[in-house]
Symmetry: C2
Subunit: 220 residues, 2 copies
């Protein structure tokens, strides 16, 4: 699964500006990134491409425009999708997902903290998933702290902590969109059984090095 690091902090503390500096530091180190911005209020949209805008306006749930170099998609949601739902449905081919916001989700967080007064405390004093603070004002908390103007050291921290090469094979099972927890034995058992079941099928000669997705549809 693609690792997630959330950049969190109170409003107007410079999260977007910091992410703008962090992204090129990570891409220069060879990592491909996806970003997710959480907009709790809804957003206005200047829709990509005149024709796909017309499709959406006419009632399509999802409207996508695709060209050889890029694509854009707009979709209705029936709820505020979680990071995991967004990751599973829309994101592939990257090494890391950086989110702006999502402070209530259970992913590792880096807090951007610029106090605006003596009573302004960092979020991380209440959230043990904050793994580091980026700040212009050192705080007395037992967490790594980095200066706001040095995205390079934060990129190194993220790379060292979250972007180590994965050495164990993994398997993920979802039922009706929910992740089903699998222990070590079950993971290995399911993986080995699947690989032996499908290993002789056409196109299945590289099972060990490629992602396998099996989707079982509901019985109607």
């Amino acid at each position: 699964m693609i690792p997630v690091v959330s950049i969190v902090g109170r409003s107007n503390r410079g999260k977007t500006t910091f992410i703008e500096k962090l992204i090129p530091e990570l891409t220069q180190r060879g990592y491909r990134l996806a970003t997710i911005k959480h907009d709790v209020h809804g957003f206005e949209i200047d829709h990509p491409g005149k024709d796909s805008y017309r499709h959406k306006a006419a009632g399509a749930t999802i409207s996508l425009i695709s060209s050889p170099a890029r694509l854009a998609l707009v979709s209705d949601s029936d709820h505020d999708l979680t990071i995991d739902e967004l990751r599973q449905r829309f994101i592939g081919g990257v090494d890391l997902i950086l989110t702006e916001g999502y402070k209530r989700e259970s992913f590792p967080k880096i807090e951007v903290f610029r106090p605006q007064g003596p009573d302004d405390l960092p979020l991380c004093s209440l959230d043990d998933q904050v793994v580091a603070i980026v700040t212009d004002t050192p705080v007395s908390l037992p967490l790594p702290q980095f200066p706001l103007d040095d995205a390079a050291v934060v990129a190194d921290f993220i790379a060292a902590r979250f972007l180590k090469p994965q050495s164990n094979p993994t398997i993920r099972l979802t039922v009706g969109g929910r992740n089903v927890p699998l222990n070590h034995f079950l993971s290995r058992f399911l993986r080995a059984t699947l690989i032996s079941m499908i290993g002789n099928l056409k196109w299945c000669d590289q099972l060990e090095s490629e992602e396998i997705v099996i989707t079982v549809s509901p019985k109607l």
Copy 2:
């Protein structure tokens, strides 16, 4: 798999206008739609949301903005993605995908044909995947023909031909993003084996009525 119908035709024959009429006819019949517009020349984009635009400009491969009611995504592509790649990676929760363009792909096509002179022939005289013509000028070809101003009959045609309820359980297997063809025996064998393997796990009590996704990551 979500069925695909492509609306094709030469340039400036009214494809977008026809799709705009067709979409509400289908949604009124209870179907949820995704649309894909093929833009071979590339498109200019007014990016959704100021912050996610900044993420993309800073070098993110994928930038997504998500709110409780809708989401928007922009992604770089390293090639002109096929309909099947777009369907697998980005589209779910709909009954039908309508595309505008993609006349070279192997999906059923409906041609919008408005001749602009006596030598202007429909594409479908060269393409046996065209299943109907929508036209203001009847042509002598052995295909269903519908008037350009009557999207309702085309919606009925699509619903009858492509949107019949699926009565068999299905299973889909992809390896490294490629679909692996499974015959009837293998589909049933894999499905039954998986369901018996995971049927006693926590949260797996509704296996027959919910989609199950198993993802096996590469061994690194």
